[in-house]
Symmetry: C2
Subunit: 347 residues, 2 copies
């Protein structure tokens, strides 16, 4: 098959790769219908040291079951499935409580030692298929592919940010970041009943989509100026919930500036830092809660799916470009230059 | 009157001081019945640069109203009151939602510019008396003084840790620190229904009191060894809630080590650091929530008072020494040397 590899910063190649095959009786092989490029794929795209050894990449896909291992009980060849960005057994204590990203036997795509490949490819070996994959009742219209694909990561991740922040009817919320996750955090906050949703972002085409998803205000300014604008919009207090969908330190600092005393900062942007201010002058003195982490999207797919299937919501609108697999490198360039918000890949 | 001043590390003096007087119509003057020394008073006792100018100290007291300003409506001369460690108006948006430590017009004791003195003294000017003070229905038996005094800070602070951590029936909890706040965090977790309460502390007289308050296990080991012990006691997972009642970095690191994925670290020890690990390798990857802050004890006093008055709980057991006001410096020494857990001061 053909699959995408990263050889270092800026160096994405599509190459011949071995066809994935069943290695364990709990595996399934999924033929990829659509994959996509994630904002977090841009981190290695910016910083990975050059290497002779390519690494597979991509962790979001929908597809059709092509083969199942002997122990796979709930899925069969031909099923249309959504794959969350983490695989999980569905039975361990963490899975049972909806924290599949901490599954005792699970993992993430692109783990070469376990022979788990990447999603920007023609096919993928899925370990623990019964626990991992969610079947979509058929027939599935191609019109729904973008929104179904968003359930593999960005929609569930935005939802996780909103749920962890405790958003409910009447909440006030600031969303930091106008990438796909930020915009879907806006949609999620709106679905959960938030009254005021302030989207901080500078790209008008994106913030326009944010308004469509439910943002009541847009703040284009950043840093101290942006913080001042949010305070003006909230009677001087800031918002109770802040959904941080970027992962860089300036976004964290922005969150500290716009959160109301007693409020919650919910992070889903993968932190590109390890240490951050949490002491009396930042979190502690204001009794601010810091929460979030890798979204257990597997826990949310069944809940979010019906409104996607019946067209109530259209999270797939975050995709504004499509490339075929051979042109995946162009997709990375477009997202890196910010000429595309999120790029879908058609194998 | 006589009042306690700190002139630098290790230098506590009891001196003549001007009698406090009504400066605003919302003030009250409270004659101190009992005050005490807080673990957090030891921070300046360890590190304050020497100065010719003494600073008042102490922030926990119970006493009797001696005089009220013209606008004080709910309190009268002779009332027995508990003073929380922060003063607050009781009417601003933060007070109304129970976050009096963020009161828009409030503050803390020992703010010389506002002529608000310290509690280790014969009398104190209390600003915003109606919002700040809680009247205890009389007559008040001296036997109750220690437990009533604990409501001015340490009991409410332990309670805040437990409430913010979401402790409920069946919770598993680790409490880090066997000081007065840690022990009362144990009592609070027990009152809220926690099933397993692991107390990490090394002083047997203290951990024995912790067992009396409800600790099911005691771990004397620290660092990696202590973390291993907690994991052994919890099927390898750690506890869902960790109440951190110390404030130093090793206690934070301990908390990271013993918290279950998806769990909560609730801090009430005043952090002696500003930055700390919060990234993928610490909080984020495990979806751990970090919460806590200065306890709005004013919000909890009425709730906690009945069980104190009827003797159901006896949080005052944390006091194991009493000194008169002139011997306050001895009280500091005893707490610093750890020969006393918590020292009560009788003016």
């Amino acid at each position: 098959m053909r699959a995408t590899y990263i050889y270092g910063a800026g160096d994405i190649r599509v190459e011949d790769a071995p066809d994935p095959r069943i290695l364990r009786p709990t595996d399934a092989i999924v033929r990829v219908t659509r994959a996509c490029i994630c904002g977090s794929d841009l981190h290695p795209y910016h910083s990975m040291p050059a290497s002779d050894q390519g690494a597979t990449i991509g962790h979001e896909f929908i597809g059709v079951i092509e083969e199942t291992g002997a122990d796979v009980a709930t899925l069969k060849v031909g099923d249309f499935v959504i794959a969350p960005f983490a695989w999980s057994d569905g039975t361990c204590p963490f899975c049972r409580e909806g924290l599949q990203t901490s599954c005792e036997h699970g993992g993430f795509w692109n783990m070469p030692r376990l022979q788990v490949g990447g999603a920007q490819a023609e096919a993928v070996r899925v370990p623990l298929a019964d626990g991992t994959l969610v079947k979509v009742p058929g027939p599935v219209s191609p019109d729904l592919y973008p929104s179904l694909l968003s359930l593999s990561d960005v929609y569930g991740t935005g939802w996780h940010a909103a749920v962890r922040a405790g958003i409910t009817d009447g909440s006030t919320v600031t969303v930091i970041g106008d990438g796909a996750v930020g915009l879907l955090a806006v949609l999620s906050a709106s679905q959960l009943g938030a009254e005021q949703i302030i989207l901080m972002g500078r790209h008008q085409s994106r913030t326009d989509l944010g308004r469509k998803f439910g943002a009541t205000d847009v703040v284009a300014e950043r840093g101290e100026e942006g913080i001042e604008r949010v305070r003006e919009l909230t009677g001087g207090y800031g918002t109770r919930a802040v959904l941080e969908a970027v992962g860089h330190m300036p976004a964290y600092e922005q969150a500290l500036g716009v959160v109301r005393p007693g409020g919650v900062i919910s992070r889903v942007g993968v932190p590109q830092y390890e240490s951050a201010p949490v002491g009396f002058g930042s979190l502690f003195g204001k009794n601010v809660t810091l929460t979030g982490g890798p979204a257990p999207v597997r826990a949310y797919i069944e809940h979010l799916l019906p409104a996607v299937l019946d067209g109530t919501v259209n999270p797939g609108e975050v995709f504004d470009r499509t490339v075929d697999l051979e042109h995946t490198p162009d997709g990375y360039r477009a997202m890196d230059e910010r000429s595309a918000l999120k790029v879908m890949v058609t194998p």
